[in-house]
Structure formats: structure tokens, C-alpha cells
């Protein structure tokens, strides 16, 4: 039976670990804000605009994360137990939770990542969504968690353990040797990367064809040709492009953001190995934690007697600073680029929808044991299979939300 004992890779102080997690949060917030990176938008655009560009970028992100973390383990830099130790249980709750999450996030207008960086950029609707998420977490804790815990403990449509039980190299090869991790890494990551690139190329080709069909007037054709040649010249002036990105004159492209985020995950994977949950994780538990903090100001201590708060949530962990610094990173990016502005939606009912969507997000992420970042993206890097379940559940939830919005909202 594989070991379930964490083994620190680097000898660091806790202050440094917290500091580096905070730095990774800052990078995450900054890059996501500049790249306008949103998991929900990536999925929504599949059903509304038939565009796979951003969804392809998501698959590339998952693939790169799995490839990077898997190779680090396969070549012995990080012990395998530091990769699978925090793999969660799998069961009905991941599928149901991800559907609820996808539905709520699409209604509210943002996934957990975009909710935070947009809130930090001044979007009031996302402030309301965040508050709704806190309330949703509380509703989950007292209404759903005891039942869910019972099914998890008794293996009712659920595995009764996490860790190596959920680790694909162990499931496939009954081994956590370097070679089994290596083969699994390639089997999981390369198809994701290739499918992601294919989807992006497919969308670009489709746009090019539809553009050429639309542009039939001589003047428009001349303009189009001019733009083609301009884009050719832009390739030459790479330094100008880089300068514009550094000076925040241009937003980051989707693929640049994807690469930054994948490297950010690997930073955390190495730094936190053996100490704590060494993946990027945002808000899914911290939504509950911040609600707990708010109530602490009124001397209410949820961790003493409220389910989930008193059995699953440490009072603080490195992800807390990650979330705080994500907001500061996103704020800094939006402020320095001139994007920052308090934006109140004209249609005030959007606020109510944002709150309701936020509540569903809070319930969904807690049921699924994590959000689109802390469970889905992370689980691809963990070489688990919960992320695959979450991906399809979230797609279904987003699809249902689009149908509801088209019909009733």
C-alpha cells in the first residue's frame, strides 16, 4: 500500500511558504485580470458563439499543469505522495456540485476566479456574488454537509478514501513508481494539449472563413487585406508587443495567460510540497472562511459547533493569503492599466441574480469539495479523475443556465 505521509521537499519557514503562496495569488490575480480569464465564459462561448478558443485554452492549461507536475514527480524532484496526498474522495457530490456550480456561476456572471478579479476591478455584481457565495457555504454546511459526510463515510455512491485511491497511476498500474507516473502523465496531458490546440485552430479557421464571406465590398476587402499585412508586420515587432504588455497598454492573450497560470501552479506545487495543499486553490473554502471571519467580529464562532466549519476548515492556511493577494494583484493590474472603475449594473435585477447565482456557487463548490480552480484544474495536476467529472458537470450546468437565461431572464 502506498505511503500517505507528506515529505517536505524544501526546508523552508512557514513565513516563506505563506509569502510564496501570497506571491502566487498575486500572479494569479494579475494574469487573470490582464487576460480576462474566466472558466465560465470559456464554456459559455461554446454554446452561445460556438467558439472553442477559450475552452481550448482551458484544456491546454489542464494539460500543461498535469504535464509539469507529473514530470516533476516522474523525474523524482517531488515525491509521488506530495502529488496524491490531497486527492479528494470521488462520488455523486462532485457531479451534482459541479452542475450546481456551473449553473450558478453562469447566472452570476463569473467563475470563482473571475468573480474575485472582477470584484477587485470594481464590478459590484461580483461583490454581491461573493457575498451570496458566503451565505451559500453556510446553507451547505448546515443543510447538506452532514448528509454528504454520511454517504462519504459509508461509501454510498462515493469512494471511502482519497489520496492514492484516486491517483490515476495507481488506478491504472497499481503502482506509484516513476515510470507509471511518467506514462500516466503523458497519457493524460498530451491529448488535452493537442485537443486544446486543435479547438483553437478550428475556431480561428472558422472565424477566418466567416470573415472572408462577410467582406465582399472592395473597400472592406482592402481594409481586411491591410489588416492582414499589419498583423504580419506586428510579428516582426515583437519587442513592441512585449513593451506594450509590460506597460499594460494591451491585455494579455489567452495563451500567454494560460502559460503564466500553469507556471504559477507549478511554483505552488514545488513550494508547498510536503507542507500543505500544494496547488492553487481559491475561495471555495475561503468563501466560508471569510464568512467565519466576518462573524468573528460579532463574537460568533462557527468553528465551535457548526458542521463543516468545525470538521473541515483550519482557521487559516496558505490559501487565505493566496486569495487576499489575488484580489490585490487583480486590483493592481486594473488600477495601473486604467481599467479600475466601480461598475454598478444598470439593470438592478442583475444584482439579485448575482446573489442567487453566488449562493448556488457556494453550495455547488462545497458539495463538489472544491471549485473550478481548487478541484477541477488542480485535480488534473494531481493526476486524479475528479477534475474530469467536474468538467463535464460544469459544462452541463453552464448549458442549463444559458437555456434558463434565454427562456426566462
Amino acid at each position: 500500500m502506498p505511503s500517505m505521509v507528506l515529505q517536505p521537499v524544501l526546508q523552508e519557514s512557514w513565513a516563506l511558504i505563506y509569502g510564496l503562496f501570497a506571491l502566487s495569488g498575486f500572479i494569479l490575480g494579475w494574469a487573470a485580470q490582464r487576460g480576462n480569464y474566466c472558466f465560465v465564459n470559456a464554456m459559455t462561448s461554446i454554446f452561445t458563439a460556438k467558439s472553442y478558443e477559450r475552452f481550448g485554452a482551458l484544456l491546454i492549461l489542464f494539460g500543461l499543469s498535469a504535464l509539469g507536475s507529473g514530470l516533476l514527480v516522474a523525474f523524482g524532484v517531488i515525491p509521488a505522495f506530495d502529488q496524491y496526498y490531497y486527492n479528494y474522495f470521488a462520488g455523486w457530490y462532485i457531479l451534482v456540485g459541479s452542475i450546481i456550480f456551473g449553473f450558478g456561476a453562469a447566472l452570476a456572471g463569473g467563475c470563482n476566479l473571475s468573480m474575485l478579479y472582477r470584484a477587485a476591478s470594481g464590478y459590484v455584481q461580483n461583490w454581491i456574488e461573493l457575498f451570496g457565495m458566503m451565505i451559500g457555504t453556510y446553507v451547505f454546511a448546515i443543510g447538506i454537509w452532514p448528509f454528504q459526510l454520511y454517504t462519504m463515510a459509508n461509501g454510498i455512491l462515493s469512494t471511502t478514501n482519497g489520496g492514492y485511491v484516486e491517483y490515476l497511476p495507481y488506478i491504472i498500474f497499481h503502482s506509484i513508481s516513476n515510470m507509471s507516473v511518467y506514462i500516466t502523465t503523458l497519457v493524460v496531458s498530451l491529448p488535452l494539449i493537442f485537443i486544446g490546440i486543435y479547438l483553437q485552430q478550428y475556431t480561428k479557421r472558422k472565424w477566418a472563413i466567416s470573415s472572408s464571406l462577410r467582406i465582399n465590398l472592395p473597400a472592406a476587402r482592402a481594409y481586411y487585406n491591410q489588416n492582414i499585412s499589419t498583423s504580419g508586420e506586428e510579428k516582426v515587432s515583437l519587442t513592441k508587443e512585449i513593451k506594450d504588455l509590460i506597460l499594460l497598454r494591451k491585455p494579455y492573450g489567452t495563451n500567454l495567460t494560460t502559460i503564466i497560470l500553469a507556471l504559477d501552479l507549478l511554483l505552488v506545487f514545488i513550494v508547498g510540497a510536503g507542507y500543505t495543499f500544494n496547488y492553487l486553490v481559491i475561495t471555495s473554502s475561503d468563501g466560508g472562511r471569510f464568512f467565519e471571519y466576518l462573524l468573528m467580529l460579532g463574537n460568533v464562532k462557527l468553528f465551535l459547533n457548526t458542521p463543516w466549519f468545525n470538521d473541515s476548515l483550519p482557521i487559516v492556511d496558505p490559501s487565505t493569503l493566496m486569495v487576499i493577494m489575488l484580489c490585490i494583484g487583480a486590483f493592481s493590474a486594473s488600477y495601473l492599466s486604467g481599467d479600475f472603475k466601480i461598475r454598478i449594473p444598470r439593470n438592478k435585477s442583475r444584482l439579485l441574480i448575482g446573489f442567487g447565482g453566488g449562493m448556488l456557487v457556494g453550495i455547488g463548490v462545497r458539495m463538489a469539495l472544491g471549485c473550478n480552480v481548487g478541484l477541477m484544474w488542480t485535480n488534473f495536476a494531481q493526476l486524479g479523475y475528479d477534475g474530469i467529472i467536474f468538467l463535464f458537470g460544469m459544462l452541463l450546468g453552464v448549458y442549463l443556465a444559458i437555456k434558463v437565461q434565454e427562456r426566462w431572464l
Binding site: W14, A22, Y293, L304, S312, I328, Y335
Partner: protein
């Protein structure tokens, strides 16, 4: 007349600096004491070890320094810029 974007430009760094100060103050006052309450009541899933808590407080303090200094630098830079712009507008 000072426009809304200028107020936003001036206030935003101050708000972030105050937030960082407030967060550090909250951590020292509430998180430390509530961690002790968790230990006294035997809620070990909420409790974190003293070394980890100390690391958190230390990291938060340094982050607070950085955010407050940067916030004040931006505030001061924008204040000077705004005064200059207003003076030039008055001259014209």
C-alpha cells in the same frame, strides 16, 4: 473641479493600504485568539500549530508593509500629478 476619475485615482491606493492594515490588525487580534479558543475546545481541525500561525502573521506583516508603502507611493505620485494638472488647467 476635481472629476470622479481623479478621486478614484487618489482614493484607490489609500483604500488598499487601509485594507492591508485592517487585515493585519484583524489577523493579530482575532485569528490568534480564536486559534487558542479552538485549542481550548478541542476543535483540532480548525486549530493550526503555533509555528504555522507565527509564519502566517509574519508573512502578513511583510505583505502589509509592501502594500502600504506602494499604496502611499502611488497616492503621493497621483496627488502631485493631479495638482500639476489642475495648476496647468487654471493657467490656461
Amino acid at each position: 473641479m476635481i472629476s470622479l476619475p481623479i478621486i478614484r485615482r487618489l482614493l484607490a491606493p489609500l483604500v488598499v493600504s487601509l485594507f492591508a492594515l485592517g487585515w493585519y490588525g484583524f489577523s493579530v487580534q482575532y485569528i490568534v485568539s480564536n486559534n487558542n479558543v479552538a485549542l481550548e475546545n478541542g476543535v483540532f481541525s480548525a486549530y493550526i500549530s503555533p509555528s504555522q500561525l507565527q509564519g502566517y502573521i509574519e508573512a502578513t506583516r511583510y505583505i502589509c508593509y509592501v502594500v502600504v508603502y506602494l499604496g502611499l507611493i502611488f497616492f503621493w505620485y497621483n496627488l502631485v500629478k493631479t495638482v500639476r494638472e489642475l495648476e496647468e488647467a487654471n493657467k490656461q
